[in-house]
Amino acid sequence: MRTTTIRLVRIALLLLSGAVAVAAQQAAPPPLITLQEISEGLPADGSRWLTFGGNYSNQRHSPLTQITPDNVNRLVPQWTFQTGTLGNFETTSLLRDNVLYVTGPQNVAWALDARTGRQIWRYRRELPPNLTACCGLVNRGFGVLGDKLFMVTLDAHLLALDMKTGAIAWDVTMQEYTNGYASTIAPLVVKDKVIVGVAGGEFGIRGFIDAYDAQTGKRAWRFYTIPGPGEPGHNTWAGDSWKIGGVGVWVTGAYDPEQNLVFYGTGNPGPDYHSASREGDNLYSTSLVALDADTGKIRWHYQFTPHDLHDWDATEVPVLGEITVAGQPRKVVMFANRNGFYYTLDRTTGKLIVAKPFVTTTWAKEVDFATGRPILLPGHEPDEKGEVTCPDITGGTNFWPPTFDPSTRTFFVNAREVCMTFYAWKPDYKAGDRFTGGAGQRVSSAESPAYGALRAIDPATGERKWEFRYLTPSTAGLLTTASGLIFSGDAEGNLLALNSRDGKLLWRYQMGAAMHGTSPTTYMLDGRQHVLVPAGTTLTAWALPQ
């Protein structure tokens, strides 16, 4: 009896020491994700990608140089991951410690082994059957801090998931989805807060940007994109139109730590096309707003399209950079707008530096630098008979990310050349229902052929450096690298690599689906640079042969 006990204790001790020895041989897991890591952006060693835009400036410009203009044509696929769901990727995957964190359509998300594309865990949200989410059941990616991933949902919740398992750490309701609210944005983590916005500009919402405590999910602040009674700008909405004036926020902003400001582009006013339903400038629709990251208080705003009537959300990606304008170094925010103009603004004051069309633009002659307002051309107010305007509803560009190469001070954007007949009529508002007051029809290709182009723009002047033309308009986002490459895609499903200095096509591959609203990302894995491409329902990793 006693001997048995001793033997058991011995065995237990042996087992224990074995376990300790095994643990000692294994690499310790990396520490929790810190703000330091996040604010460093894309590191030179390529070991991580932790925010929507790569860094807080949203530049999507990688320092990696293993893949070059000379060898890019040797890229070979490493693996392909398929979602197994309906709907397409619009996500930016995050990478840390050789694991990818990926959100997909229908609020499914995964942790994937970046070496093989194999799933580690999968999260799937049961969505209510009566969702109104306007424009695709999509999601644009995770935010991350500590041991948590943050993800918005189509029924307007914000979730924190455990990075190791995908289990829910907390779940907060941002707004009632039954009233037309949804959310698709990739959260932005600033200090201890998770910053998000809501979609629903076509459903009579009152939009906002929210910040939540990353630990607890408690709401820290809310900025309504439509000012309430007594607030400055409230009088830019006639009558009660402010209550249902839309102005969603569904594309991730940029952050300037020096000023502690976040910059977000805001959505269209609603109803989208019917002028008389909401007389006034409709602040802060179709604007860039600069908010204090701690309080959500507005520091400055610039409205691109006062009283927009063409659904030109300013939910494009704001990109921060340092450039020289007229011999002076300037801290700027660069913005290619759906309304057809490219803008460079001083990001400390919100003052206009450059405003110049980057596509055919028929509704405004130019932007008046004294007032900052576009000088409108007549005949571009939609009515029941219809009026033709360029660009179309989808716009000169849209939510697909541009890039900025700081070494050549070049801004790159996928531009669209399309015109449309816009119609408007008086709509009735019903809570949770579509509320647009109009529609558009593409001008026939015989009258005005539609096409797209990748354009390289000098942000100091708005002048075009070069363009690469597509057969039809592309909705792909971009990635540039320090080796002088730019990755893009066309609407026909080709993944394209071009020389970022001159726009020369270097390599292509037919993916079978277009990158829509997504960009490739790049990182190092076991000493090899990888390019990750989300297209349709697949995610494919590329690298040079070993």
């Binding site: 579509r434 109009g438 597509y470 057969l471 026909e492 080709n494």
Partner: protein, 266 residues
Amino acid sequence: MTWTRSVLTIAMLWVVGGVLFAAQEPQAKNPVEGNPDAVQAGMGLFRGRCAECHGMDARGVRGPDITQVWASGRTDAGLFKTVKEGVPGTEMPANPRVLDYEAWQILAYLRTLAAPAPTDPPRGDARNGERIFRVNCASCHRVNNAGGHLGPDLSRVGAARSREIMQLRIRRGLEEFRAGFEPVTLTPQTGQPIRGVKKNEDLFSVQIMDTRERIQGYEKDKMKSVQNDTKSAMPIFGPDRLSDSDLDDLLRYLQTLRGFDPAVVQ
């Protein structure tokens, strides 16, 4: 006891089912026809949800002309069903999210665009029209699984296009090409040019059906040229090629082609 209960349950289910079924049966007549508010709302719904395929004027783009549907004998109840349930085997989708009253509003608006039923007696002899079709059209156009593939299938053209539009297309040719039927000429480095219609294209390649109905893809950089043609492969049938009376016969025949849509036959 159990048996009795089962019978009762079945009877109850039958009654409930009957009530449900009755509740889902569309009304025979549009309850909001002519109501100005309904027409206004219906216009919005139509333009937002239907016009991409049917055109802002409802005269048809990719989808059929629907200004003719009442004149061709369709009923309110049948059209209501089409709006809600779609047309199987075509691009017309089911619209489960369109509420009943919205469907009626859409139809109230369409009614204001509806062309009157022709007062002239229908002209032409469909049987002769069919013969004319076989000789002149069937080498390119297919009807009910017979005919060529180079042009669009016309099995339901009578439901989709007005007589007037069909006449224009036959007499004057096409102004715009339908996707999948744009004429193209490829000139290889050596050999004869290849004519056909474009099935797909990207920056680097083009996929066609050539005039001998061979489907094939070509890489653009291996071609001397890839030319989008401005003239359709569909010939113009002027009065010299097709007399007015033969045209009447042909149109009469085409009007009988209503395809496989079971909702149409009401």
